[in-house]
Amino acid sequence: MRRAKHRRGGRSPAPVLLAAPVPLAAIVLLAALVASAPAWADAAPGAAACSGCHGPAALSSAIPSLDGHAADEIVAQMHAFRSGERKATVMDRIARGFSEEETRAIAEWLAKPEAARHAQP
């Protein structure tokens, strides 16, 4: 049940770091990485709980992954759950607990890159 640990291919900036002097492109890349690191801290209220059920696509769960969805699409689905237009087992019950504004904030956060949200490689 334990997955092998591996770093995402092509993303590791380590080889660049070892070269001196550090090229500007690498600096920009590193600055971006640093900026994205605390994404969990900025999670909209309620958003961090989603990953209890919705995992990365690689898990191939019957509960759909939220990876790679645009914010508008997530908002639309939450509307459909809330109105009952989209049939669900639990999401209809959960969607009703969030206001329009909260739903939008959660969707914006969920639409950020997967790397910011999931624990597993």
Binding site: I27, L30, A31, A43, C53, I63, A119
Partner: protein
Amino acid sequence: MPSRRALIGGVAASVAAAVLAAPEVRAQTQPGVIVVGGGFAGASCARALKRMDRDLAVTLIEPEAAYLACPFSNAVIAGLRGIEAQTFSYDQFGSYDRFGDIALIRKRAVGVDAERRRVRLDDGTDIGYTRLVLAPGVDLRFDALPGYDEAASAIMPHAWKAGAQTLLLRDQLAAMPDGGVVILSVPPNPFRCPPGPYERASLIAHYLKTSKPRSKLIILDAKDAFSKQRLFEAAWQELYPGLIEWVPLSSGGRVTEVDPATRTLVTEFGNHQADVANVIPPQRAGAIAQSAGVADQTGWCPIDPVTFESRLQPAIHVIGDAAIGGAMPKSAFSANAQAKACAAAVAALVRERRPAQPKLINTCYSLVAPGYGISIAGVYQPRDGLLAEVEGAGGTSPLEAPLSVRELEAAYAQDWFRTITSEVFG
């Protein structure tokens, strides 16, 4: 030894700071957060803290080499699943974690000096913290039910902590002759996993129906109502007619004493003799909560619903089963959700920022039979100093639903378990 990732983080930070000419001062002495207990709450919290602030020094204290998960342990008791599927090692902690290093200390915390902000370990050493998160889960009260102590639990298993107790109950059921009487005794609220005893009754009934059809299951309950009651009762009538007898408090269901020698359960209305007795005793927050002074006279820990900080001791936070969660049930899902909200608050507090108002979710699945699942869900937010349910949201699966919905919920239950354990331990 710093991990490669931590090193990269450090270099990246200084490079970024230089480039942006915004010399954000990084604390020279790292603020240290200690998390006690590596269950659904504590392990989630340690990881979330690292994800939120990779420069935070995070230490997880957990004495066991592996975690044994309770969700789905009722399926183990019914012989539907092996205990390996419940077992998760801590190998991912302590060395490199994707979000940085979490120092793992394989010791038991035995005391907290809240004034000096130090945690004492069972080897006599102690370590300091800036903030402490306690997530010890529950302790079973071996002083609450006359006759039921640790020795009695070797004869009348509680199986309310996964592991040897789970297997003991499974083996007793397997050894019982057809026509036997199984008795399950349920404590008053609050206890870990409100629908848990009724899921267990359902799966034991499934086992009896398929393997020992002349047997009977009696539930002696200290309550008059329980979680997902109508769904459970409808399913019992449909799937296990005549097999389960539920005796509520008002009909004399409260067990007041047990005698392990004769496997007798005493109630105000008379004695019951069991071939297999599953006694779930009252519970309270894990012992470390009492010794840290964060548990009140109820045995549980009052907390601020925004930060999960103890109402009794500053700089100590309590999450998961040990905390008074208001309307939130004591579930693995709640523990994980609370852990992430608490981590956000702690990460903000150590950087002297204001914690945000959290919003939490819980979903609890129960299996009534293989391929037959039901659920309860809720959304929660701080209100009047507690975690309160957001009105209009949440609730249980529909009472009238085609089998396809029950099948879907059973599949979701399995996949929820896979996802959450992979987030917490994977």
